[in-house]
């Protein structure tokens, strides 16, 4: 039997690209949200966390509302040949929106527990804020940021609701592992569905094992 590996490739690139996006955006918002006045921070926080608690289909609905080809922004983007509906990179958008809060919240938690005197002492020593951020703050928050990244990647890989709303299921074009599992199941191809379920299980297991190994190695390095 010849297997169409497209869903695997598509899922991995969607998860990887959205994970990179979410990594930087999540850290950016986590870092700057912490500095905002409490009132604005509270409002922004609710807004940024909503995708985590809303059903993914509702996120997909909003994405369609904004990026639909008959909506102003959708029409505008179409002039540049950019279309998020029914394209694989629309999947990146959907996965990123849904995975973002996981990165944002874990990074924020890590930043909040960061010992501020480390940053202050860096400043009084004359180190630039950029240096302090990348060489002091980020290493100190490495655990939390790593955890957030993995969660975001895993969530992006497993995204179904918003993805199916925004990009649907077109074999060879927008199909991902999760939409393929549903499609095959729906069309009574139980063996096919099981095959992709096992693929998904394998990837998730590898990701989690890698993380655990990294953490163990780090703990060992610290304990030395």
């Amino acid at each position: 039997m010849s297997v169409d590996w497209y869903p695997l490739w598509n899922s991995l690139r969607i998860a990887a690209i959205s994970c990179v996006l979410v990594f930087f955006l999540g850290i950016f918002f986590a870092y700057y949200a912490a500095k905002l006045p409490r009132m604005i921070k509270g409002i922004l926080d609710v807004f940024l966390t909503l995708p985590m608690v809303l059903p993914p289909t509702v996120c997909g609905y909003f994405l369609l509302l904004i990026f639909g080809v008959k909506r102003p922004l959708g029409i505008f983007l179409l002039q540049f040949g950019v279309k998020f509906v029914m394209t694989w990179y629309g999947g990146v958008l959907a996965a990123a929106v849904v995975a973002f809060p996981l990165m944002y919240r874990t990074a924020r938690g890590a930043f909040e527990s960061f010992d501020k005197t480390l940053a202050y002492s860096g400043q009084t020593l004359g180190l630039s804020n950029t240096y302090i951020f990348w060489r002091v703050r980020m290493p100190a928050c490495r655990q939390g940021i790593l955890a957030g990244t993995v969660l975001a990647f895993a969530r992006a890989l497993g995204e179904y609701g918003a993805t199916s709303m925004l990009i649907g299921y077109t074999p060879g074009r927008t199909a991902t592992i999760s939409t393929t599992v549903y499609q095959l199941w729906r069309t009574n191809d139980e063996a096919g569905a099981l095959f992709w379920v096992l693929i998904n299980l394998a990837i998730s297991t590898v990701v989690l094992l890698t993380v655990n190994m990294l953490e163990a190695r780090q703990k060992k390095a610290v304990a030395k």
Partner: protein, 347 residues
């Protein structure tokens, strides 16, 4: 070389309002926890921003609310030793100290100054250790090394000994005191520990709820604290409300005694203080009958609590502290106090 500080800043329930100068010496801000002394250091370093005021270091304006000057901490050349030393945990001793040399661009100069500092602070052999592998004293030396290589014009020490075990503390105090003498710039140290303040500083500024009560040479302050908070902070155990009777006599109703004092009493006297060490069964002056309450032994001293016979029963007992070998076999019926040892407290 001088540091001038005028700061106002609202801190929760009280206003931080300090105004002082420091010059080529070790000045100590002595105050209870939460009195605003650490905040004062943070304002000088540029980590916190005062609501109003003016901070000037060797003629350079670091902060001025009227002209809107507010230099970032990076440009202030103010060294700040944090209570927990704030060493970067992910970096080695060498990398940590190099962080203090970030302004120096010449590589060979950097290496030279690093090597000099490692030798000065006796850190040779520890270059590649991470902070968590060091003892408390070594961590303090690394933190100081990192600050001193950055060539600060003033050194701020925030409770420098609080993270150390007792037996290490005294040795490090002597080490740090000698180092600060060689350093030759202003040092501003914050502590709530009167012994530390006494050991380390030539001048003490007493802070109470955001205000500076007094700035005095260390020994003068301990000899005559002048106010109730300063008396408490310098370790005076016996304080009671008092009023003036005449130029050299005060009435202490709580203790039921009238005391003769050496200093001339001013009209606005609020209280008197007597240090626990100064009672004497053989003193001829201010001698009153007392009754024994209880005592507590320390390794080399005894603290005896007693009451004057006419003392208000609701007032706390009075402390008498003396070396064990000087403890009389039988508790004396009367205790005296030299008039010079009665502290007059006005605020």
């Amino acid at each position: 070389m001088s540091l001038q500080v005028t700061i106002q800043k609202q801190l929760g329930s009280f206003l931080l309002d300090v105004d002082f100068e420091a010059e080529n010496e070790v000045t100590c801000l002595l105050g209870a926890s939460g009195c605003g002394k650490s905040m004062t250091l943070k304002c000088i370093a540029g980590i916190e921003k005062p609501d109003a005021g003016h901070i000037e270091l060797d003629g350079r304006v670091l902060f001025d609310s009227e002209t809107g000057i507010n230099l970032p901490p990076q440009k202030r050349q103010v060294g700040y030793l944090f209570q927990n030393y704030a060493l970067f945990p992910n970096m080695t001793v060498r990398q940590n100290i190099l962080c203090g040399l970030s302004r120096e661009k010449d590589r060979s100069v950097k290496e030279q100054r690093l090597a000099d500092m490692l030798r000065l602070m006796q850190l040779n052999g520890l270059e590649n250790h991470k902070p968590h592998q060091l003892s408390g004293g070594q961590q303090q030396r690394v933190a100081l090394a990192r600050i001193l290589v950055s060539d600060p014009q003033v050194l701020l020490l925030d409770e420098p000994f609080s993270a150390l075990d007792g037996h290490l503390r005294d040795a490090l105090k002597i080490e740090l005191r000698d180092l600060l003498e060689r350093y030759g710039h202003e040092v501003l140290m914050v502590t709530h520990d009167r012994t530390e303040a006494y050991n380390m500083s030539s001048r003490i500024a007493v802070m109470h709820e955001g205000r500076l009560l007094t700035v005095q040479p260390t020994k003068a302050l301990f000899a005559d604290p002048g106010s109730v908070p300063a008396a408490v902070l310098t370790g005076c155990k016996n304080i009671a409300g008092a009023r003036k009777l005449d130029a050299h006599t005060v009435d202490v109703p709580q203790w039921g005694v009238q005391l003769e004092v050496a200093q001339e009493v001013k009209d606005d006297l609020k209280a008197v203080g007597i240090r626990a060490h100064y009672f004497n069964p053989n003193a001829a002056r201010n001698r009153f009958p007392v009754s024994y309450v209880e005592e507590m032994e320390e390794p080399f001293e005894t603290i005896i609590q007693f009451r004057y016979i006419g003392q208000d029963p609701d007032s706390p007992p009075i402390w008498w502290r003396l070396a064990k070998d000087r403890r009389p076999g039988q508790f004396p019926g009367e205790l005296g106090i030299a008039p010079a040892n009665v502290l007059l407290l006005y605020e």
